[in-house]
Structure formats: C-alpha cells, structure tokens
C-alpha cells in the first residue's frame, strides 16, 4: 500500500481553542485570521510545503463554515476532504477511523494546533522524509506526529523544522500577529506588496492627509479617511472604515469593523464593535453612538433642511413613479405578488416606535421585475417621508429579520425607505449593511443624500 505519497490529517476538536471561540463567536477558530489570513490556510500551506498531496480535516463537531471556505482544496492545489470523529476518540481510534487515508503513505498528523510557524524558503519535504515515526514537533498544546518510517538515507535539508508557538491566550495571539507581520517574508501573506513591510489589499481608499506608517497590512474594501494615521504595526482586515483623524497603531482590526472619528486605537484588537485589550483580555463594547462620531452642535437646523430635501425628493419620486405604480400595482395584486409586512421600529427598544410597512415583490414575470427595477415596492413608504416619519435614504431595516439588534442610536433614529447599504455592491449580511449605513448617516449631507439616492436606485443588486 505504501506508495511513498504524503498526506496530512488535521484533527479538530470542539473543546480546543475555546478562548478564541469565546472572543470571536461568529466564526470557527480555524477561520480566525492572523495577518488577514485564516489559521487553516497556514496549516494548508505547511501541508503543501511538506509535499502533501491530500489533506483531511477530521472534526468532532459540525464545521460547515470551514468546509465552505476550504471546499475541495483546488484553490491551493491540494485535495481536501472531511471526516467525522467522536469527542471521546483517542489518537489510536481516530487513526483507525481514517486508516484508508493514512495507509497511502507517510502521514503527518496535526493535532490541537491552530498555527504552524514555517519558513517558505525551507524544504519541508526533506525534513518530513528524514523524520522518524512518532512525535516530530510538540508545542504547549498541540503536536505534529509522523506516521510511517523514516526514509533510508534521507537527510534533513538546511534550516530548522517547523515550530508550534505558544498560542493559548489573546495576548499570545496579539504577539504572534505582530511577529508574523515582522517576519512576513517567511509566510505567504495576502495583499499586494511593492515594498517590504507593507501589504495592501484590493479597493483600498486612502484619503488625502491620511498617513500610513510601516510595518502595515491592509485588507480589501478599506476606507481610511482624511487625517488618520495608520501604523506602525497596524493589521487592518477587510471591509473596514476608519473615520477622520483617528489613530490606529500596534493594533489589529478584524474584518467588518468601523472606527469612529478622532479615536485612538493603540495596542488593541477590534472586532466589529468589540474592543479587546490583548494584555488583560478586557473587552469594551463600542456600541455607543457617540463613539461613532463627535456630537455636532447646531445640527437641528441642518436636520430641518435635510428633512425638507428628503421630502422634496420623495415628492418628485411620487410624481415620476405615479403612472408606473398605478399600472403595476393592480397587476401585481392580481398575480398575488404584492405582500406587505408591518413592523415596529426600532425593534426591542422602549423608545417611541414607528410602524413601518414594507412591501415584498418577488422578481417573477415581467411586471415583478419591472416593479422592482422601478422601486415600486417602496412607493407606499414615500408618503411617510412627506410626513417626516421616514427618511428617504438612511438605514433601511432588513425585510427578512425582525430580530436585528440595532446597536447604535443614530441607526435607530433614522429608518428610511432606501438604505445607504443599497449604494454599495459588497455588503453580504446585515452587519455589513449597518456599517455602510453608519458611515453615511454620519457623513452625508443633504446634497450627498440625493446623489446616494440615485446610486441606490440604479445600483440595486437585484437589477
């Protein structure tokens, strides 16, 4: 059976890495990023560097999100498949359960490990060939075990073998990220790097007067507003807005994070609205609306003008869309493709509530598609804009969920017919949308609103 091939078996147990799971609940620990690269990818890289042709992830718990991320491994040029084990299985039993996979040749068994420190310049194929059977590397929590004998006459290549750094606390995670950024040439890191210590993703907007200091890493879809200072030692994830005159240094911003105006993030980890001190592990929720912006004195007259402009624009839309509405509405009614949904907004809060009626039209038939393209579904709500109850463009409560947690006061105070999020292509979930809404609620003036409204009308995803 032993054909001399090499494969890697990664064992994941739910009980491991609980500290990481506690902090970053929304994703599997293996998908938590280190320097904008999920942990699992470092393991895949190492498996490939050691000459593995196949990789199996054996887990005792559902890992749907991880499977959806890795799929069959074709992205990396390695075959990935998945197996199930039970929590009580010991090493012997789990090897029995995966015997066919392991019998193809030499197997590298990676257990209780999030991260393998490697250097892409080393030849780990030589290292693996020279490894005798048994535990090859062990760290504070995990280990790499080799199954299959040492090849005769094999000599390890130059350079040390891999190592498993300490990674049991958020403080160790923070230091490892810093270390990885400083030793970026050892790893395969995401982003475009035209000069050392500087990685840039796609769609990064750096406004005039913003300063970037190396070493720094920036992900995709990032906006850095005027007067901000990013770095040194900043790891900025994807889908991030850093508002005016804020400082981010020695810090990690995980994906989908908004940093408000004039804030100072030094030596911290931020994930969404959660701010973490890596040394003490203390956390702070940045859900306070004022942390998103400074309080603007005299905003009330501006508010009145803005409301007026919204009402005028709504009136214009009501007139322009009157004919299409009068034609399409009865048609859709006949075809039972006009569903209204009443809801109270904001949800949960004790504040004064507003009844919002949302219309759902399925994009079925020419009439349905045309109605959606013309935003006929929003037509009845436009009257509420005239009455000043709704904004024309602002935060559009998601139709699908009543349970959305409205985290910020400015969102709760500005329900609208059209959402700012509808001007962008990238938002995938409600959290993404809230981020865009937040940003424009704090930045857009009356005139911008009109421009954004046109963008939302033309840029609707379903068109």
């Amino acid at each position: 059976m032993n054909t001399g091939s090499v494969q890697t078996l990664i064992v994941l147990r739910e009980e491991e890495h609980a500290w990481l799971q506690d902090l970053f609940r929304s994703r599997h620990p293996m998908l938590v990023t280190l320097c904008n690269k999920p942990f699992i990818e470092y393991l895949i890289d190492f498996a490939i560097l050691s000459g593995s042709e196949a990789l199996r992830i054996a887990s005792d718990s559902p890992i749907t999100d991880l499977e959806n991320y890795c799929r069959n491994g074709s992205r990396w040029g390695i075959t990935i498949d998945y197996a199930h084990i039970l929590p009580e299985d010991d090493q012997e039993r789990l090897l029995e359960k995966n015997r066919q996979f392991c019998s193809r040749g030499k197997t590298m068994l990676i257990e209780k490990t999030l991260f393998v420190a490697y250097d892409k310049k080393n030849d780990y194929r030589l290292w693996l060939r020279a490894c005798p059977e048994g535990v090859a590397v062990s760290g504070t929590s995990g280990s790499i075990t080799i199954l299959g004998n040492k090849q005769e006459n094999a000599i390890p290549g130059p350079g040390p073998g891999p190592s498993l750094p300490m990674l049991l606390t958020i403080g160790e995670y923070y230091r490892l990220a810093d270390d990885t950024l400083k030793n970026a040439d050892r790893y395969i890191l995401p982003g475009y790097s035209s000069e050392p210590d500087c990685f840039l993703g796609r769609n990064v907007v750096i406004q005039k007067g913003a300063e970037i200091r190396k070493p720094v890493m920036i992900g995709n879809n990032v906006q850095i507003s005027a007067g901000s200072i990013i770095g040194p030692g900043a790891i900025i994830g994807s889908n991030i807005i850093i508002d005016r005159e804020s400082v981010v240094s020695g810090s990690i911003l995980m994906d989908n994070t908004f940093i408000g105006e004039q804030l100072e993030v030094k030596g911290r980890i931020a994930d969404g609205s959660l701010l973490i001190d890596p040394e003490s592990g203390a956390t702070l929720q940045m859900e306070d609306p004022h942390l998103m912006s400074v309080i603007q004195p005299g905003a009330s007259t501006k508010q009145i003008i803005r409301r007026l402009i919204h009402a005028l624009a709504a009136l214009a839309l009501l007139i322009v869309l009157a004919l299409p509405f009068l034609v399409l509405r009865p048609l859709l009614g006949l075809r039972r493709n006009w569903h209204t949904k009443k809801r109270l907004f904001p949800p949960g809060a004790t504040a004064k509530k507003l009844t919002i009626e949302q219309v759902v039209i399925r994009p079925e038939g020419a009439d349905g598609r045309l109605a959606i393209a013309l935003s006929i579904d929003r037509y009845p709500s436009l009257f509420q804009v005239l009455g000043g109850k709704l904004r024309l463009i602002g935060h559009r409560p998601a139709v699908s969920s009543d349970t959305s947690t409205i985290s910020s006061g400015c969102i709760a105070m500005n329900p609208a017919v059209f959402g700012y999020a509808e001007t962008e292509e990238w938002p995938e979930n409600e959290r993404d949308e809230l981020m865009v809404d937040h940003y424009h609620l704090l930045h857009s003036g009356s005139l911008n609103d009109i421009g954004l409204l046109l963008k939302a009308l033309l840029n609707k995803k379903h068109m």
Partner: protein, 107 residues
C-alpha cells in the same frame, strides 16, 4: 436495494447497495428482523447512492439498539453523498465512522 452479508474477523459486515429511502428501508428492516443479528456489526455504505430521512432513521434506530445491547455498530466507507446527509442532519455525532472496513473490524 441489495444487502450483502460477509464476515471479517468474526464481525458481521452488511454491505448496502443502491438507494436507502422510504421505499427500500422496509426491506432492510425486514432483513434485520428475520435472522439473529446480535453481536457487533459493520455497515458498509460505499455503494449507497442515496439516503433519505427514513433510511437515516433506520440506521439511527439500529445504532440505539446496538448501544443498549452494548454492542458496537460501525459505519464504513461513507461516500460524499451520504456524508452530506449525515452532516446536514448532524447524525454523524451518533456513529463511529471509519473510512476502511478492515480498520472498523479492528484488523
């Protein structure tokens, strides 16, 4: 659906072939009831093209029976289609799943 019976290491191996659904699971059930099937058992799922909730229900009930009798039931050589069903339903946490029959038989 076809059921082939063999013995490895003194352990009974049932190799199922075809579709395990509402239409075919009574056959499998009857098969299990007609003869004495006590003792450890391995079910080879390699040739199962499709499994639905009733087929899955049958395996789950069999697993419970074996467990209460303190006997082992192991599933082996699950293909991707069957694996998908086990994942969606989270049934995999109820079974010992092996990729090799010999290993399941402790050989």
């Amino acid at each position: 659906m076809n059921i082939a019976e063999s013995t490895i290491n003194g352990i009974k191996v049932l190799s199922l072939e075809g579709v395990l659904n509402a239409a075919s699971s009574p056959k499998f059930k009857a098969y299990l009831e007609t003869a004495d099937h006590s003792g450890p058992m391995i079910i080879n799922l390699e040739q199962v093209e499709f499994i639905d909730s009733s087929g899955l229900g049958l395996l789950v009930r069999l697993a419970r029976q074996k467990k209460s009798a303190n006997e082992a039931l192991k599933l082996a050589k699950m293909n991707d289609r069957v694996k998908r069903v086990f994942e969606i339903t989270q049934a995999h946490s109820l079974f010992d799943i092996y990729d090799d029959i010999q290993a399941a038989a402790g050989n």
